[in-house]
Subunit: 299 residues, 2 copies
Amino acid sequence: MLYLIGLGLAYPEDITVRGLNAVKKCSRVYLEHYTSILMNSTQEELETFYEKKVTLADREMVESGCEEIMADADKLDVAFLVVGDVFGATTHTDLVLRCKQRNIPVEVIHNASIMNAAGACGLQLYNFGQTISMVFFTDSWKPDSWYDKVLENRKIGLHTLVLLDIKVKEPNLESMARGRIVYEPPRYMSIAQCCKQLLEVEETRSLEAYTPNTPCVAISRLGSNKQKFKSGTIKELSEYDSGEPLHSLVILGRQVHELELEYLLEFTDNKESFIKNVKADQEYFKPAPWVPPNQDDDC
Amino acid sequence: MLYLIGLGLAYPEDITVRGLNAVKKCSRVYLEHYTSILMNSTQEELETFYEKKVTLADREMVESGCEEIMADADKLDVAFLVVGDVFGATTHTDLVLRCKQRNIPVEVIHNASIMNAAGACGLQLYNFGQTISMVFFTDSWKPDSWYDKVLENRKIGLHTLVLLDIKVKEPNLESMARGRIVYEPPRYMSIAQCCKQLLEVEETRSLEAYTPNTPCVAISRLGSNKQKFKSGTIKELSEYDSGEPLHSLVILGRQVHELELEYLLEFTDNKESFIKNVKADQEYFKPAPWVPPNQDDDC
């Protein structure tokens, strides 16, 4: 049996009791270690907690076929641990498909992920639109296909969850050119950098998917004892010191109810200006700029 | 301290280790018992597992101010357990706000909810739009505001998660009129009933937010040992026997990738016709029927 087990957000003890029981009986335990990190625990702490050796599975191991992970999983119990929930990344769906093709039984044990725990910021989950990822820009590479998605979400009033890039095990390119593999130190995008990149792309795209005054909520270290929320405009948050990783951002949509606003105001420095910006944003995107469905013969 | 603890989806052991440790030290334990149910466990099984008495909190107790739950929570540890994750329902956000106003410390311990675990059907979570709820229609009450949301989602290619109504503790109206409170037996909406109501509303609204041939995935008993997925059109699923509760439905959007389709095909009776319907749906909603952002001066 291959167990795919979500670890939740921060602590070794965030695993479910059922998940822990499964890990305890496994012959081999792998930890997916490139799409996220478990904030409040090291590999050693996990090994102590599980009383098991834990092998880190980097992108190469997982995406190059998972042969090592699946080996003998039709006869032995093997655990593949994923920070957050199991189906956050496409590659894990792929792993399940490969197992099915080989008649390896799979059991999934779910857990919290940023995709649902983000509701802790006070915004209702059912008003979120599609989720986007913000990668580290370089001088020559500034992908912005997410910009259209933000615009689509905001046109229909929905919030946008922005997942911030992490680089856990990136080879140093200079060393690679000299034939040696040396890994860069891990990097985690800050709220400020994300907001600066948002502003940079709005400068070039200029469709007003958002403005410097668009209200957002920064979510830092969600689920840990250092969890922190901060409400503010993109401009304000582009100067915010968000501290240690991990971070996510929510760009608000028009659909903010009184109760949600009251909750967000707990986390803002300037309540009056935040309310003003929320109202202005609601006004801008309402009424909806496209033809209402009941007069739209084209759809 | 008031602990708000997600229970996950099915088993008593789906609680996290951290959640269980918190419950064990609480003086009082409440289980929110009207927005969902824990599929594979009774109140008695939870009490045995926690070695604690568990009080069921119905809608009335939670929405009428939560006084009983918050009593002395500034001095004692109290647990409020929620099936799935904590922030699925607006009332729980309200409970946190009330605690803040009274200086009662709150700690949230997250878990899986249908909002993220739905990824188990093979569709990528970041392509989901706003979530809708389908309530039981009566002869005189057929709310359909969700219809516009499905149309909005599908216009921009997004999947729609449909949460199906449950009635856990509804008073019998005839008895109430006679001054006695008698509760109806619990009711859980089936996939077939949900699909019939979808078709009924499309008949009256007629904007082709979807058609009888729109592809969907039925998700039944997610996270339990009787978990089952079934891919098919709305028409096909309107005759599907989905078995025991709980159920959810995903109405597919245009954004279905090859890997996702391959996954969904595992769960369909007629692969060829399912592929045909997915392709037809993709064709219908592509190119997007509204003016592309870069020619849209009104937004």
